[in-house]
């Protein structure tokens, strides 16, 4: 998963607070983004509290004058920055009335300076039409960061109105920098399928897959599946764009959870993409699965890949040591992916197959039961028999005894049949003797 925080975005936000250009804070680039965000939180408090006593008095004095005059004074004397500082101190309904009398460009400037968390009630009460007008101007100015700060504070009607006036590209750029990432799901939920399709096509056309995959990382599993299905329904060029971006930016740990959440049909479509069958791409996918424990996602994809691609993955698996293989076996058990694991194991080279066989022979009884159920249901006796035949005589005898004890006579008979068909005499005898 890409970092929840983007160092560029954090620097831009912090620079704005202290009225500097982002380049003036370039030296912060080496600092952890979370530390920059924490610093920004501290600076926000400092800047909003610096003149709090006087600002509070101004807010109180505002009650003595008519709304129209308050708006005039706000625009002429205070300007957008100080009005932004004042907004959260005003009675929300009063602030909304004043805002109704201010021109959109002024409110746009104010919105850029506002800390939405300090004016949440005011923002929630601004009419959707006015929110849309401000949003339109913010988008025209490329103020995606400011827009992203508001998402979690808008009413649903206002959010819909805002979304309706921005381009797909602006929407993607904004979603990427949303302050409260938990709000991305609500944002996506307001979008009709046709808009989501257009946004996904835009991700390729405008080279915004980093942003799009970040969004996919912050929605619910159901939404991730829905978006994954929409993506899988796009033309090859669109999906190839995603593959290129994922490969260039090493974002496979963002892509694999999407393949997990999408429908089986979509997953098959994704696995059929020629662009993921190359060795470098497969190597990156296997690497991401290894580094981020995404073995279930990879196991789901493996049977769907064409034979040549599977062989490439198997070649990559040659280097897997016991700990990695143990993780894969664990993932197969937890996610009920014994079929893909046993089929994949059959394509590995002998040394790795031996390691897997030893691991399978040593699994706990409940794990063994689950595996035997899968073997029985999916008719994977030949694959299991082949692996078991690679064990040493002692291991094979002990495993055979467990197979008899846990699998029952009918299962062992089927396994013996598979062993004999493959001329695995040692295993057949061990099973008969057990």
């Amino acid at each position: 998963m890409t970092s929840l925080l983007n160092v560029d975005v954090e620097i831009i936000k912090l620079a704005r607070l202290v009225d500097r250009e982002p380049k003036d804070l370039e030296h912060l680039r080496g600092v952890d983004p979370q530390d920059i965000r924490d610093l920004r939180e501290q600076v926000t408090v400092v800047m909003f509290d610096a003149d709090r006593q006087m600002l509070q008095r101004v807010a109180s004095a505002t009650k003595l004058i008519p709304t129209k005059l308050a708006a005039l004074i706000g625009e002429r004397a205070f300007g957008p920055l100080l009005c932004a500082r004042l907004t959260g101190l005003l009675e929300p309904s009063r602030a909304v009335d004043i805002a109704a009398r201010l021109p959109t460009p002024f409110l746009t400037d104010l919105a850029i300076e506002l800390d939405p968390r300090r004016a949440s009630r005011v923002i929630a009460e601004i009419p959707p039409q006015q929110i849309a007008e401000i949003t339109k101007l913010l988008a025209e100015r490329g103020e995606h960061i400011a827009m992203g700060g508001f998402v979690g504070h808008l009413s649903e009607a206002a959010l819909r109105a805002a979304i309706a006036v921005v381009s797909d590209e602006a929407l993607l750029r904004t979603a990427y920098v949303i302050e409260s990432k938990g709000s991305i799901g609500a944002l996506v939920a307001t979008l009709p399928t046709e808009r989501l399709e257009a946004i996904i096509a835009t991700a390729t056309a405008a080279e915004l897959w980093i942003e799009a995959l970040d969004v996919l990382g912050h929605v619910s599993e159901r939404q991730r599946g829905q978006l994954g299905d929409i993506a899988a329904g796009q033309a090859d060029e669109v999906l190839d764009g995603m593959v290129r971006a994922a490969q260039r930016e090493l974002l496979w740990d963002d892509v694999l959870p999407v393949t997990r959440a999408m429908s089986a049909e979509s997953r098959a479509r994704f696995a059929a993409l020629k662009s993921i069958h190359t060795r470098p791409v497969l190597a990156s996918i296997v690497d991401a699965a290894s580094r981020h424990s995404l073995w279930p996602e990879l196991l789901q994809l493996l049977p769907l890949l064409p034979a040549a691609a599977r062989r490439r993955v198997a070649a990559l698996g040659t280097g897997f040591g016991r700990p990695v293989l143990q993780q894969i076996v664990g993932a197969a058990h937890q996610q009920g992916l014994w079929g893909p694991l046993l089929q994949f194991a059959a394509e590995l080279e002998r040394r790795t197959q031996v390691l897997i066989a030893k691991l399978l022979a040593a699994v706990a009884d409940d794990v063994l039961d689950a595996m035997l159920d899968a073997v029985w249901e999916e008719r994977l006796e030949p694959e299991l028999a082949h692996l078991a035949s690679l064990l040493t005589s002692d291991e094979m005898r002990s495993f055979s005894e467990r197979l008899v004890a846990r699998g029952g006579e009918e299962f062992v008979a089927a396994l013996r049949e598979a062993a004999e068909a493959r001329e695995l005499a040692d295993l057949s005898e061990a099973l008969a003797a057990a």
Binding site: D35, M47, D51, M54, V58, L72, I73, L82
Partner: protein, 72 residues
């Protein structure tokens, strides 16, 4: 990073800055401390002159009560 540079920033922030900032040089830390200090000064100055300008715009009739709320 020296203790003095961190203390100066701490004074401006009113609290200990995040640990990650300790990796910055004194000059980098001071540059940020100065930026924050200047921003606060500019804001206070802007507010002072905005209040004065606002009082010019407020009708004479309510200017007294407004002034009283603003300056006690």
């Amino acid at each position: 990073m020296s203790a003095t540079a961190i203390r100066d920033l701490e004074a401006e922030l009113g609290g200990r800055p995040p640990a990650g900032l300790e990796a910055l040089t004194d000059a980098q830390l001071s540059s940020f401390t100065d930026a924050l200090h200047d921003a606060k000064l500019r804001q206070s100055e802007a507010l002072r002159s905005a209040v004065e300008e606002a009082l010019e715009i407020v009708p004479r009739l309510v200017r007294g009560p407004v002034r009283k709320i603003l300056f006690g």
